[in-house]
Symmetry: C2
């Protein structure tokens, strides 16, 4: 059983919530589908094993997970694409993204210089920085030919 599911169950319990089948499956799918799925993609995936699942349940669960800090929602700006949110089972602080504008694949990365950018900005402006989002857009090796 994944860490996300356990953590979510605990939070749920602590406020009189209920761990339903739908929620279990949505949480599972977030761990299985690693690739920043959209609500629709999660819905399609979970529907295979539970055809009665409703899309609004997916949205409700994701938004709840987001509020609890267990999931982060981001909006990648693909050039001509629709503007759908994509969800990610990790904290937004500890990794960043490269997006291939051709094949839409996503590569995660981290770089300690980003923390430095954040610190320098804080020092210069006295702003308190809570989170940093870095997205690189370009072409992956496959799509460069």
């Amino acid at each position: 059983m994944g860490a996300l599911l356990e953590e979510a169950t605990e939070i749920l319990r602590s406020r009189g919530g209920r761990m339903t089948n739908q929620r279990k499956r949505i949480l599972e799918s977030l761990e299985l589908l690693g690739s920043h799925p959209s609500a629709d993609e999660i819905f399609a995936f979970v529907s295979q094993s539970d055809p009665t699942l409703n899309l609004s349940t997916v949205y409700r669960t994701l938004r709840w997970l987001e509020q609890e800090g267990l999931v982060s929602a981001r909006h990648f700006h693909f050039d001509e694409d629709r503007r759908t949110d994509r969800f990610d089972a990790a904290s937004p602080i500890d990794h960043h993204h490269f997006i291939c504008t051709e094949c839409k694949s996503v590569i995660e990365f981290d770089n300690r210089l980003i923390g430095e950018v954040k610190n320098q900005f804080s020092r210069q402006t006295n702003c308190w920085v809570q989170s940093v989002s870095v997205v690189l857009y370009g072409l992956c090796p496959n799509c460069q030919k």
Copy 2:
């Protein structure tokens, strides 16, 4: 007359386009309203001087400017906010943003380390990076009290 208006006029001419009153006013407003306005805000502003302007004209003009690389559209992920695009008369490459999640104010900044992050990533992955988007979220000095 602003540089944006001149550049846009030239591009327009070069492909049999027409510099209309509406387009002029929308371009002007992009220079006057510096603060990453939404299509709605641009519409409200220009409507004051031209009450017949239509919102879809604003969208069409903005998308066209985006395609020509004269404007960039971004979607800032304000926590509970609606997901509206915000527009910016500058190239997305040469500056980045801090957003105060409380008062929604935007501070632009740049930092040469960001170019370094980009270069390191390219070297390590052989991805070609076209543009970089960095958004810091947090609290501005005023909202920290």
